[in-house]
């Protein structure tokens, strides 16, 4: 099993290398950064000097290798506008985004998986049809609209929760985070719910379908015939058997939560990476965009690695397949 884990890790590194090339090509080779940095009335000499200062006069390969070397040293360039390191800008915003994504994922998984399993076990009940109908509705309504509705109800009408912003004044395990104080949590709740709703609906339907399939298996009937009680039947046999496919979906969806929660962050004025990216794109701040893309790619690769490892732990048959 260790050798398979090592193989997965190597794969991940290869993916990262490939992606760095794609990002480099995408952002540095399409269009000339000088056009944006240097005023159009500048002379040819000035252009050449600026190009030389930025290393743009060197060959493609050299440029890429330099980029790679700097990236490995944690240097992804400086923001054209604030002149601070691009990676630092991203990493400053990362905790807020991770916080929001984690809360949304916890809500979606914590509610979605049990509800999905319950719906599958009580598939014939009326309540099940209502829940599944609501789930379908859940991924039919747009996230920003849900966010606005939540603000209208809980912030404007009831005035229970703040309508936006983040409060990380509280500390948890020595880290400044929204989880550290009630005020922090109250700011987090609405964006997290609004972000979780779609994933919750998705997980309910997915868990329901996967559980229905597992419940028809002979080993479930055999376990029931041995007198295995319902909590163990669903909590051990069903959960582990739907676990492999579920963790794959949850992993991908978590990555999506981190990388693409831009809309929700805008609606709730949440100071996350998404908002930074929008600002960077609007101002053509390329190093920040590159840093964002590379951080996102790394995150996705890491999540996929973890998902693969979880699958190896859950399903012994994958271990054998990996050895052959």
């Amino acid at each position: 099993m260790l050798s398979e884990a090592a193989a997965r890790l190597l794969q991940s590194l290869l993916v990262l290398l490939t992606m760095s090339a794609v990002v480099f090509a995408g952002v540095y080779l399409i269009g000339n950064p000088l056009d944006m940095l240097i005023p159009p009335q500048a002379s040819e000499l000035e252009r050449a000097q600026a190009g030389h200062a930025l290393g743009l006069d060197q060959s493609l390969i050299t440029q890429y290798l330099l980029f790679l070397q700097h990236a490995l040293e944690g240097n992804l360039g400086r923001s054209f506008f604030s002149n601070s390191p691009a990676l630092g800008l991203i990493l400053d915003r990362l905790p807020a985004t991770i916080e929001l994504a984690l809360s949304a994922a916890l809500i979606a998984v914590g509610l979605g998986v049990p509800i999905g399993i319950g719906c599958a076990w009580y598939a014939q009940r009326f309540g099940t049809r209502v829940l599944l109908g609501l789930a379908t509705l859940g991924f039919s309504v747009p996230t920003f609209w849900v966010g606005l509705l939540l603000i209208m109800l809980f912030s404007v009408q009831l005035q229970w929760l703040p309508s936006g912003g983040r409060d990380a004044s509280g500390h948890l395990f020595g880290i400044a985070t929204s989880f550290g104080s009630w005020r922090g949590l109250s700011h987090l709740l609405l964006p997290a719910i609004s972000l979780a709703l779609f994933k919750l609906a998705l997980l309910i339907r997915l868990t329901y379908a996967a559980t229905r399939e597992v419940l028809q298996q002979d080993f479930i009937l055999a376990a029931r015939a041995r007198g295995v009680a319902l909590p163990r039947l669903l909590g051990v046999h069903v959960l582990r058997n739907i676990g492999v496919s579920l963790t794959q979906v949850i992993g991908l969806e978590f990555g999506a939560l981190v990388a693409f929660s831009i809309v929700t962050e805008s609606v709730f004025a949440w100071p996350g990476m998404g908002k930074l990216l929008i600002d960077a794109i609007n101002s053509l701040d390329r190093p920040v965009v590159v840093a964002y893309l590379l951080v996102t790619v790394t995150l996705f690769t890491a999540i996929n690695l973890v998902v693969d490892l979880i699958a190896l732990v859950l399903d012994p048959r994958l271990r054998r397949a990996g050895l052959q």
Partner: protein
């Protein structure tokens, strides 16, 4: 609830025990005058039997109304006895097995009649009470060894779970019991096997594990739903003789569901033949094989290839078994029966019981 054809009441009033009736004596006792030769043997001590099934019916709820999959099935099992339940696919054998363990779907299937396990009526039991008897007093072995173990649990985890379902037991003690149980089923290197995953075992080994688990709590009854059909013949023979010896030693009764008549002849004490949801004949194995009374039993026996010389043309039962939705009135086998007469389509036969067993036919081959 019971769409029994009224014609049967000519011979015997339909007995209905619903799941909700707590007292068994009332409905069975009110069965009224019986036709001569027909006995339900109610007076003999029912508790001495491992299992008594009386008028077990299973109805499937469909959009078109209820469909009766099992129609008033009755049989008894003595301790240590092997009763073979034979019949074609779709005749209701597996549904019977599930109904006996209370594993039918409560929403889409309704069960009527009475099931007495060691004298205790099971159908009125609560779900929790049912569960505490499943695996402990009545166990089930399924057909396909490839699918009846959870692929993500080790053999040891399965056995520990089976033990802990009915008694609180420490890890070490459970391990010892599990090793013994596997060794009793002829599995060598048992401690090693406990750590194995199901996909690492052959079909024969997996089925032995299933049987070992079924025997763990020394149940009164084991319902075996074609447990050796998916295995090759040599493994089949070994497992059968082991099970036979274990049954003899522990007094466990087997309801052996199969369509392999060669196994039945060697292995079963008695036979019950099922057709279209009804038991059409019961009797001692030797008697049923040598002198079947029901034309369907006769036809089934004629289909056994071993009974033919090489080159001889094999017999088939022409036609198909009726579907649940299109169950004919009168005798259900008549459309395929060589002996059918005019009255077979007008009168539904009632079960007649005597010292040689029972049959469900207006014109038995040997009365």
């Amino acid at each position: 609830m019971s769409p029994a054809t009224p014609k049967t009441t000519v011979h015997r009033p339909a007995i209905r025990t619903t799941v909700s009736s707590p007292e068994l004596e009332t409905p069975l006792g009110s069965s009224g005058p019986k036709a001569p030769g027909h006995t339900l043997e109610l007076n003999t001590a029912i508790s001495a039997r491992a299992l008594s099934v009386r008028d077990l019916s299973v109805d499937f709820t469909t959009a078109q109304g209820p469909l009766r999959a099992i129609d008033r099935v009755s049989f008894d099992l003595a301790p240590g006895e092997v009763l073979a339940l034979v019949g074609e696919s779709g005749s209701g054998k597996s549904v019977t097995a599930r109904a006996l363990l209370g594993l039918t779907d409560p929403v889409t299937q309704s069960v009527g009649g009475a099931v007495l396990l060691e004298g205790e009526s099971l159908l009125p039991l609560s779900q929790a009470a049912w569960r505490s008897r499943r695996g402990r007093r009545i166990a089930l072995i399924l057909q396909d060894p490839m699918t009846c173990l959870d692929p993500l649990q080790t053999v040891g985890a399965h056995m520990l779970e089976a033990l802990r379902a009915h008694r609180s037991i420490g890890q070490r003690e459970a391990h010892d019991i599990a090793v013994q149980a596997l060794e009793r089923m002829g599995i060598g290197d048992a401690p090693q096997r406990l750590r194995a995953w199901p996909h690492q075992l052959s079909g024969g080994l997996r089925q032995r594990v299933s049987i070992a688990m079924a025997l763990l709590h020394r149940p009164a009854v084991i319902v075996a739903d074609e447990p050796t059909t998916a295995l090759d013949v040599t493994v089949q023979g070994q497992i059968l003789s082991q099970v036979q010896a274990l049954a003899r030693d522990s007094g466990t009764a087997f309801l052996w569901i199969t369509h392999d008549l060669a196994i039945v002849e060697r292995f079963a004490d008695r036979v019950a033949v099922m057709y279209a949801g009804q038991i059409v004949e019961t009797g001692q194995t030797a008697r049923v094989f040598s002198a079947p009374r029901h034309p369907y039993t006769r036809a089934l026996l004629d289909c056994v290839p071993q009974r033919y010389q090489p080159g001889e043309r094999l017999a088939v039962i022409s036609g198909l078994a009726p579907s649940l939705a299109g169950m004919p009135g009168g005798c259900r086998f008549r459309a395929r029966c060589a002996q059918a007469q005019v009255d077979c389509s007008h009168w539904a036969p009632a079960t007649r019981t005597d010292s040689d067993g029972s049959y469900l036919c207006l014109h038995p081959l040997t009365p």
